[in-house]
């Protein structure tokens, strides 16, 4: 019996090792281990073996079955590996083939600058306020201390719908709405489109975007304005950037200043971009006029504030070296796709 088992095992292992594919292997497998397989038949015959020998023969039979099973498994692995190797051998790409990159969309340069400034100021505790583009004379001029006969109120400078309604000329209109609806401390920014009667050319546009900054609290000084803007210039143009304040005039701030930053192009040495001055105009700013605070029921004896407004188009143009303002509004894909 034992010898027979050994012979079957030997034969089975031999046949297994000769199989070329899975089909053959399955046949061999059932020839020995199948329902009527040779080994299975022997196993069924175990009941005829004497009870003394039965455990011994049983153990040998089980061992033989495991040996064959293992061998089938191994052979199966080796056949599958051969198939995979064949497959791998046949699979090939020319990795140098040029492809079309997955196209990413782009943000408009004004949007990029705008969002960057919003994030910068939010980090410093400023709150974003939404404004209206079509405004009333009151919010755009009257409450901002712009005298009735001020040239800015003229139809030469402002687009009107009727005597009372107009397209805002600055985001400063939002200052009033904010101060009316909030009490100090106020630290707000607001941004959006503004409109002025300017023919379209390389440096003018009847529509552009502005960014407004307003702080009203006890102990807000012009030195705070200076420091805030200095940090802003560094944020926009790098650590080396410096600012220069020049006296200016806006009806809603007093004192008022025009703020220049060192020219990013030449670093302040003087070049064609800065018209040899070493500085580029950055924004207008000043201390909130006491009349403006009064108009919003804020006591100017108790509170002071500063305000600043900068043109986002201008910043975008300086930052990205765009020298014709029209390019911001033409929507030419060749320009837009560069803002990854």
């Amino acid at each position: 019996m034992q010898q027979k088992i050994n012979e079957i095992t030997k034969k089975a292992l031999e046949e297994i090792s000769k199989t070329q594919d899975k089909q053959q292997l399955i046949l061999v497998n059932s020839k020995y281990l199948g329902k009527n397989g040779e080994l299975s038949t022997l196993m069924r015959g175990l009941k005829d073996v004497s009870s003394e020998e039965r455990p011994k023969i049983g153990a040998i039979l089980n061992e033989a079955r495991d040996t064959i099973l293992n061998s089938v498994k191994q052979q199966e692995d080796s056949i599958e590996n051969k198939i995979l190797e064949e497959q791998i051998k046949n699979e090939f790409v020319d990795i140098t083939t040029p492809v079309k990159p997955l196209k990413q969309g782009t943000m408009h340069p004004i949007e990029i600058v705008q969002r960057d400034l919003i994030n910068y100021f939010i980090e410093q505790g400023f709150t974003v306020q939404d404004g209206k583009e079509i405004e009333s004379d009151y919010y755009c001029f009257e409450a901002l201390n712009v005298p009735k006969d001020h040239p800015a109120r003229d139809a030469q400078d402002t687009f009107y719908f009727d005597a009372e309604r107009l397209l805002r000329v600055h985001t400063s209109a939002t200052q009033i709405r904010t101060m009316e609806n909030n009490t100090p401390p106020i630290k707000m920014i607001s941004t959006g489109r503004v409109y002025r009667v300017d023919e379209v050319d390389a440096t003018h546009s009847p529509m552009f975007s502005q960014f407004e900054i307003l702080v009203v609290d006890k102990n807000v000084t012009m030195s705070d304005l200076n420091g805030t803007l200095e940090k802003l210039a560094k944020h926009l143009f790098g650590e080396k950037a410096k600012i220069r304040l020049r006296p200016s005039y806006f009806p809603f701030t007093e004192p008022s200043v025009e703020v220049d930053a060192t020219c990013t192009h030449c670093g302040g040495k003087g070049c064609s971009v800065c018209k040899q001055t070493g500085f580029i105009e950055l924004l207008g700013a000043g201390m909130v006029h006491p009349n403006v605070l009064r108009n919003c029921n804020i006591n100017p004896d108790e509170y002071t504030g500063f305000a600043a407004g900068l043109g986002l188009d201008r910043i975008a143009m300086i930052k990205y070296g765009i020298d014709d303002m029209r390019e911001l509004y033409d929507g030419d894909i060749n320009l837009l796709k560069q803002f990854k």
């Binding site: 489109r193 030195s223 006296p247």
Partner: protein
């Protein structure tokens, strides 16, 4: 405002300051220098010389050797080819080292064996013409007239003779400083900045009784002050060289001594003046009033102006003789035969002059000053200065009768406040000594008592109104660079954050970027023609727009009520520039036109998208909308729509919470044609106003039990909308149905012509136990039954 270095020197001694330092000082106190032009550039080595001797060149027929006296012991020898020179001629001589305005460099050289130590110059080589020096444009060397160098020694720089030994500054003067629209006003600021004393011009003259009667009546509130004076025996003629040269430098053409004096004073003191011919004034009376309907006037520019009742005019007994503050009447102003003049020096309200100037389309140097603001105090100074110049030039007898409508209030304003407020506003302290000095320099009388600062301003400083104005003057001259650089360290803590609108904008733009589209910014105002191109019906709400009253042109005249038109224009721009295969989007406002004309319109934030890529279709576009909807937390429905600018069979309203919040579809080919676009465009827009704030959602627990998936292909008639089927499937299958996905639409054999097969993949899962096949079968049949009854669907 143009001023010159030498003219400023009349009022402040600038000898210790170079022209460049003067420019820097102006910049630091708020006067932007738009241009600085050194007129003598290129003339530094060109002097006035006299030819003492001419000899023929021994080796060249066409050359002459000139000996030139340039005021030194030895003459210089210069060889010239010019033929118009002669012994005794006075000429400009460029010496060795000169670099002429035209770029030519002059060196001592050997010309055919003879030394030439320079070059005699033609007017052209000095870049001047007859308007600068009569005769400068002669063919050959410029010959200087003997009488012109009476007071100028030989060897003097040529620029002195030409009045070009000067520097021109073009300065921007801030709108609130009408008092600085003049040489004196700017010199005053300069003197204060440099801590130098201010010199003044002469206002002195002798007056006499003339017996030239003139009455004055001012009937118009827009003329707060009118002052005039008669001058007789006027000797008209050219004004002196120095005055002509200055007027030329600032760009004015000299006319005659009287007109030149009025212009000179306008520039020097900022006071507009006008000279009338006394004899032409009917009834010896001047009346200032509003024009009557139908009146007209031919002004000095020889144009006839139709006057309207809101225009202030200067009249005589018969009618208008001048447009107040703008221009005089031609017939009534100084002319060649004038013997007696009336000099007007008046103040008019700035708004009135501005409106008139705009309405008649005439802007003059005078109207420009009035638009900024002219005070009565300045009227008196202006007239006195003009009369002093008349006396200086000895060209008339001045009446001792000053005729005016009212007296002048010369008092300024009293402003007092605690000096602690200076630190409160600026964050730095300014020493008391500096406060007194700075304000004193500006003509503001200041005293400090205890902690109180008392100021008395000069009447001419109409811009100073309160403590902040005084502090602005202080920091302007103390130096803005002395401010500290603090950054709100002492203010209260505020949390800060984005507005809902702005963060929504960010989310939308970030999502759109993922689609490969480019963001654009287009103008908020459009041409009404765009609405026609979009085939918008006449009764559509999109035609109810806000109209700009004073647009730049028709193209920018109405506020847009939709964004698609602007997008199509940008698409057209790109196609014209041979850019293809792109998608664009914009997030911008549209504007209502409220029926209540006193109300401000609603502004809606709209996202609009257009796709002209080759592979774009309705479904690619819709999948972008769905991606957005997921990001914004919206569940959308679509409903067949009728939108003029979209394809009638390929378009839909986008519905959320039973509201139309957008549109999607292929752009109507008729519309694309109207925009000269020869490509298919796919479009959608979404109104972002309705999007609710996105809430933080807790995640769904991960499934614990396996799902069971069934496919269901059903045949329906063509017109059945898959969206409607989807809703029925979801409703019928209930919560156990985890997802329903459309994965195939088939048309063709063996189906009938008007049929389609739609294949759905239904995923079933239970949260608490494994779903049984029986349960799945029941749900599957229930769904099929519902589709049968509602859409006549048959299992394929």
């Amino acid at each position: 405002m143009i001023v010159t270095y030498k003219w400023l020197n009349d009022f402040v001694d600038l000898k210790d300051y170079t022209p460049k330092q003067v420019a820097q000082t102006f910049t630091s106190i708020g006067y932007e220098v738009d241009e600085m032009r050194e007129l003598y550039k290129g003339m530094e080595r060109v002097v006035i010389g006299k030819i003492t001797k001419i000899t023929r060149h021994p080796n060249a027929d066409k050359l002459q050797i000139c000996q030139i006296n340039i005021g030194q012991k030895k003459p210089v020898q210069i060889i010239t080819a010019a033929t118009n020179v002669f012994e005794g001629a006075i000429v400009p001589a460029a010496l060795d080292g000169a670099e002429l305005p035209n770029g030519k460099i002059i060196k001592t050289s050997n010309m055919r064996g003879e030394e030439s130590q320079g070059m005699l110059c033609a007017g052209e080589e000095l870049c001047i013409d007859d308007s600068v020096y009569p005769g400068a444009m002669v063919d050959g060397i410029m010959i200087i007239k003997e009488q012109d160098i009476k007071d100028i020694p030989l060897g003097t720089n040529i620029s002195v003779l030409l009045g070009m030994d000067d520097v021109i500054y073009d300065l921007s003067v801030l709108a609130n400083r009408p008092d600085c629209q003049s040489v004196k006003g700017l010199a005053k600021e300069l003197a204060a900045a440099l801590n130098l004393p201010l010199k003044d011009a002469s206002f002195k003259y002798k007056a006499q009784k003339l017996d030239m009667p003139l009455s004055l009546e001012v009937k118009d509130e827009d003329c707060p002050y009118f002052l005039c004076c008669v001058v007789k025996d006027v000797k008209l003629g050219p004004s002196p060289m120095w005055m002509q040269q200055r007027l030329k430098l600032i760009g004015l053409k000299p006319k005659n001594n009287i007109v030149d004096i009025t212009n000179y004073v306008l520039w020097e003191l900022g006071q507009p003046l006008h000279a009338y011919d006394y004899e032409k004034i009917n009834g010896q009376s001047i009346i200032v009033r509003k024009a009557k309907k139908g009146e007209k006037l031919i002004a000095l520019d020889d144009k006839e102006y139709q006057l309207t009742p809101n225009i202030t005019v200067i009249c005589d007994a018969k009618g208008p003789i001048g447009l107040a503050g703008i221009k005089g009447g031609a017939e009534y102003s100084v002319n060649d035969n004038t013997k007696t003049i009336v000099l007007e020096s008046a103040a008019f309200k700035r708004e009135s002059i501005r409106k008139t100037s705009r309405s008649i389309g005439l802007r003059t140097d005078a109207s420009g000053r009035y638009e900024r603001g002219v005070t009565p105090v300045s009227c008196v100074a202006g007239l006195d200065r003009a009369l002093a110049l008349i006396e200086q030039l000895k060209i008339g007898k001045i009446s001792n009768e000053m005729i005016s409508n009212t007296s002048v209030d010369t008092k300024g304003k009293n402003i007092s406040f605690s000096i602690d407020y200076i630190k409160k506003l600026l964050g730095i302290e300014i020493p008391e000594m500096d406060i007194i000095r700075i304000l004193g320099n500006l003509g503001i009388t200041a005293t400090i008592k205890g902690r109180k600062l008392n100021c008395l301003t000069p009447a001419i400083r109409t811009d100073i109104d309160g403590p902040n104005d005084i502090i602005e003057e202080l920091i302007r001259y103390y130096g803005l660079d002395k401010l500290n650089s603090t950054a709100l360290e002492t203010t209260s803590f505020v949390k800060g954050g984005n507005s809902q609108k702005q963060s929504l904008r960010n989310t939308v733009i970030d999502s759109m970027m993922l689609t490969g589209a480019h963001q654009i910014f287009s103008y908020s105002f459009i041409s009404p023609k765009q609405l026609d191109k979009l085939l918008i019906p006449q009764d559509s709400a999109l035609r109810n727009y806000m109209q700009v009253k004073n647009p730049l042109s028709l193209d920018y005249s109405i506020m847009r009520t939709q964004l698609i038109g602007s997008l199509l224009e940008v698409v057209n721009y790109n196609l014209m520039h041979k850019n293809t295969n792109f998608a664009l989007f914009e997030v911008a406002n549209t504007y209502d036109n409220p029926t209540d004309t006193t109300a401000l319109p609603q502004e809606h934030t709209i996202l609009a998208y257009i796709d002209v890529k080759e592979d774009a279709n309705f479904f690619t576009t819709k999948s972008i909308v769905e991606m957005l909807a997921q990001n914004l937390g919206l569940t959308l429905n679509y409903k067949v729509a009728n939108i003029s600018y979209l394809h009638p069979n390929i378009s839909a309203d986008i519905i959320w919470a039973n509201k139309v919040i957008g549109h999607i579809g292929k752009v109507n080919p008729k519309v694309t044609k109207n925009f000269d676009i020869n490509k298919d465009c796919y479009y959608f827009d979404l109104n972002l106003d309705v999007v609710p704030q996105k809430k933080t959602k807790k995640i769904k627990a991960l499934p614990k039990y396996p799902a069971s998936v069934r496919d269901m292909a059903v045949v329906v008639e063509d017109h059945v909308a898959s969206g409607d089927m989807l809703n029925v499937i979801k409703k019928t299958a209930g919560d156990t149905c985890e997802s329903v996905e459309l994965f195939d639409v088939y048309k063709g054999a063996p189906l009938k012509e008007n049929q389609k097969s739609i294949a759905w993949k239904l995923t079933f899962r239970k949260q608490d136990t494994t779903i049984t096949q029986q349960e799945v079968n029941e749900l599957f049949n229930k769904v099929l039954e519902a589709l049968k009854t509602q859409f006549g669907a048959e299992l394929r």
